[in-house]
Symmetry: C2
Subunit: 510 residues, 2 copies
């Protein structure tokens, strides 16, 4: 198989904290290998935005790089722990290599008992996340913030396509955490993203969100008047693995992509029916089902027909389109994409929906080249390789593949199934190597609402307690650490750390 | 003190399952005793609706009576447990006295081990509740259903007063469970009731409810057009005890009525500020703060001034008004009430608000006579005397004092503080007498929303599991039983029982 002989030019993202490299034998027998554009032709597709790819690659490399440095640094520190002036040397090293210091109350104990490497590891993951999170909110490195011209342009485009809100549910899986900013290349602030295991979003919550959106249109003409004939667009992103479909697909759907797609579609239809049944006067929503190949980031778009009917069997695949249009000029390629999209279903599709889908496909072509260029083939980390679990409401700043497993929840009681999956994944990734599971709890709040900050704070503590009680053994063994953060979504400030399992006990503070 | 010598003519509601009678010594030294209209004059107030009082009394007596019969019946059954043909005799007795049979799989074990009286007690409480709940939904005994002319008239009246939605939060305390239908005499379907410990309602949830209400006005002109100058009225009902203020007030506020009132007002102001800050174009709400004396059901209305400012110190008291107007004609009495309400604050109060408050005061005068007539004085059960705990979302059918302790919650994780209070109350009421705590779990759902019934079902089970895990010892000792119910709020049908801790184990079914 050709794939075996491809040398991967960069394994730069495969730090020791997480990614398992794909074992070549795992794909030896895989018939679908052909679906990846494995061509010896190194040129990019004519529609690929190389400048954007470079920027994105730079950002990914920087952020993930900061996580990769953690284990090597801690290995050095471990070797020093009985040295004279250990604390000073350790701090100097940490500052130089990671850019932050280590917690003194933990280092101080090195003379009396073995250094708590688990605690130091969790500390470093939390600090690395904090650094990249702060940078995200302070300087908008992905150029997708609400004030960016990119976001403004996209919102104008969205409105021209006939949509006034784009609401996307990817799977919680960390391999989809970059769906918005990378796979689909949409400015993050222009999308409502709610990740759920298996992309199984909550119908009642989504109806509530729809009501809020419509109410703002009626009351404030924002983003447009309720009388404009635009729709709320709800998208489900399910996922599959073209290279190892029966093992590396969506765990929530037993790694069966037809089940993943069918379940996503059913949830979309339930949402539409809920809106239509609960409100009069032609209330409805638009729906779109998209599959993502987590090996290549190529997407499948299930184009809705003229009656908004979505077929599970009919899709356009950007992997195919990429191959078919690679040798064309960019104008010819766009024309070809348009023909493909128009011909996949019968009847006249809404021109706005066509325009929107063509945009997504074009954007995705850049991402196919991004993956190809970075790894000389599909992703080397075929499976889970997240660095931390994100729990709660928020995480606007997380847009990198395999950085975060999301458990979007208000309460552990309701979100336990999603969280259990995350804990299981990290038991394999970290606990099996004697490293703890880092959990960042986040509650975004609206600073304009009196008492909301205090409630977000107590939500963090409530969820932290519920985690401690549900995963008692891991916590007691130092194999699960939490960092509590809140963020005022009305302000444009970074998140605020409000507590951590690594805080010194009161008598330790000095 | 005169109170000691008053013979209570009816102790009919003091069944052995709950109410502690007020100990006379408890009120010997209470200065505020005078606040209760203790007059030897047995005539009712001219504004009292005696026919309505009779109907309400009949309903209360019937429903509470069905709970009172439980212990005497079980005492008889207990005495029979070793008799020949025990099961048949027990069923016959139960059917004759309570109107339902007992669970056969429990009775069947009487020959081999002592009868599980705790399980039988819980069963009877659940059945008594089911009977009264079914009756409520089937025949609208309080004449307050959505189709009743009373509800329609009240909604017209509400709209004339300038309000398009009435949203009331009483305390979870069972002594306020009759606030809507009895104390304020409002048709239950015309009010959104959400009980919370200390009346501390959730601001974010209430803002969401406000959005839904306004959206329906914009989209469906229901209940009126969004352009009509009416408001959403949010009412907090705090409570206090005029006879034993420092012990029988609101537990959530340390039995301090000034704290209860101040906290309620602050929550109201937070709600208004949230709406005003989150939405443009003059979005706002109207607020009203009312105190209830749980000894007499007399209310204090904190009349808002012309600038909608509510003073904690300025209220009109129906107890005072009752005394002052008792000798007048009904027309004179109404005039006097109007003068009182108008004079309590400075400036011109909104005529709609005045009209609404006068209505509440007039209604409440009937309730003062209701209590007086039934008990020849204040309530004999000064403290908690609830029959079961209601947990979840719903319970439209519960409108009797001291019948139910409400813990209005989506999750035990969030609602634990409210639920813990309920468990503590029932530890005193029931567990101390070796009787179990009966917990009815309810999740209302919208039948028009696909999958909502299944979600309500799994919400019930989730909450049931969380209760079992939080109160493990009580459950293991048979001292806490649960009955799971769901109800389609779009249909007008009774609730549906979907499970119970009393269900036979699978091998027991036959």
């Amino acid at each position: 198989m050709a794939y075996r002989h491809l040398a991967r030019k960069k394994d730069r993202f495969l730090g020791p904290t997480a990614p398992r490299k794909r074992h070549p034998s795992a794909i030896d027998s895989i018939a679908e290998l052909k679906s990846f554009p494995l061509t010896t032709d190194k040129r990019a597709h004519p529609l690929t935005d190389l400048a954007e790819n470079n920027k994105l690659q730079h950002y990914e490399s920087e952020v993930k790089g900061s996580f990769e440095k953690i284990v090597p640094l801690l290995q050095k520190i471990s070797a020093l722990q009985h040295d004279q002036a250990f604390v000073e040397r350790a701090q100097k090293l940490a500052k130089a290599e990671l850019g932050f210091e280590l917690p003194k109350h933990i280092l101080d104990k090195a003379w009396v008992r073995p250094l708590d490497m688990r605690a130091l590891f969790a500390w470093c993951v939390f600090e690395a996340h904090k650094k990249s999170s702060n940078r995200f909110f302070n300087s908008d490195p992905l150029n997708g913030g609400v004030d960016s011209s990119r976001a403004k342009d996209f919102e104008t485009f969205l409105s021209e396509c006939g949509f006034h809100l784009l609401d996307v549910t990817p799977c919680s899986d960390g391999r989809l955490a970059h769906s918005i900013a990378y796979v689909l290349r949409i400015p993050f602030s222009s999308v409502r993203r709610r990740s759920h295991a298996g992309a199984m979003f909550d119908v009642e919550n989504t109806v509530n969100r729809w009501i809020k959106t419509e109410h703002k249109r009626y009351r404030e003409n924002s983003p447009n008047s309720a009388h404009d004939p635009t729709c709320y667009l709800k998208v489900v992103l399910y996922h599959f693995s073209s290279l190892d479909p029966s093992h590396q697909g969506c765990a929530a759907h037993g790694s069966d992509d037809s089940v993943a797609a069918a379940s996503g579609l059913q949830r979309l239809l339930d949402f539409r029916e809920s809106v239509e049944n609960s409100f009069c006067c032609g209330a409805s929503v638009d729906l779109l089902l998209i599959g993502i190949d987590t090996d290549t980031d190529a997407i499948r778009v299930h184009v809705p027909d003229s009656k908004s009917h979505i077929s599970l069997e009919k899709w356009v695949s950007t992997a195919d389109i990429y191959q078919e249009t690679k040798q064309l000029s960019s104008d010819q390629a766009i024309l070809r994409i348009s023909e493909k999209v128009n011909s996949i279903v019968q009847g006249n599709i809404s021109p706005g929906m066509i325009k929107f889908i063509i945009k997504l496909i074009t954007n995705n072509i850049s991402q196919i080249d991004y993956v190809r260029d970075l790894h000389d083939g599909p992703y080397p980390d075929a499976g889970h390789a997240e660095r931390f679990i994100g729990v709660g409401i928020g995480f606007k700043e997380v847009h990198l593949r395999n950085l975060t497993y999301f458990a979007h929840l208000d309460t552990v009681e309701e979100g336990a199934p999603d969280l259990d999956v995350g804990i299981k994944i990290f038991s394999g990734l970290n606990v099996s190597r004697d490293l703890p599971i880092p959990v960042v709890v986040r509650f975004d709040y609206s600073g304009r609402v009196p008492g909301a900050r205090e409630r977000a704070l107590s939500d963090c503590k409530r969820v932290d307690n519920a985690i401690s009680s549900r995963y008692r053994k891991l916590v007691d063994d130092g194999l699960l650490h939490t960092c509590l953060t809140i963020r005022d979504r009305d302000a444009k400030d970074p998140a605020e750390v409000v507590g951590s399992s690594l805080d010194p006990a009161p008598q330790e503070e000095h």
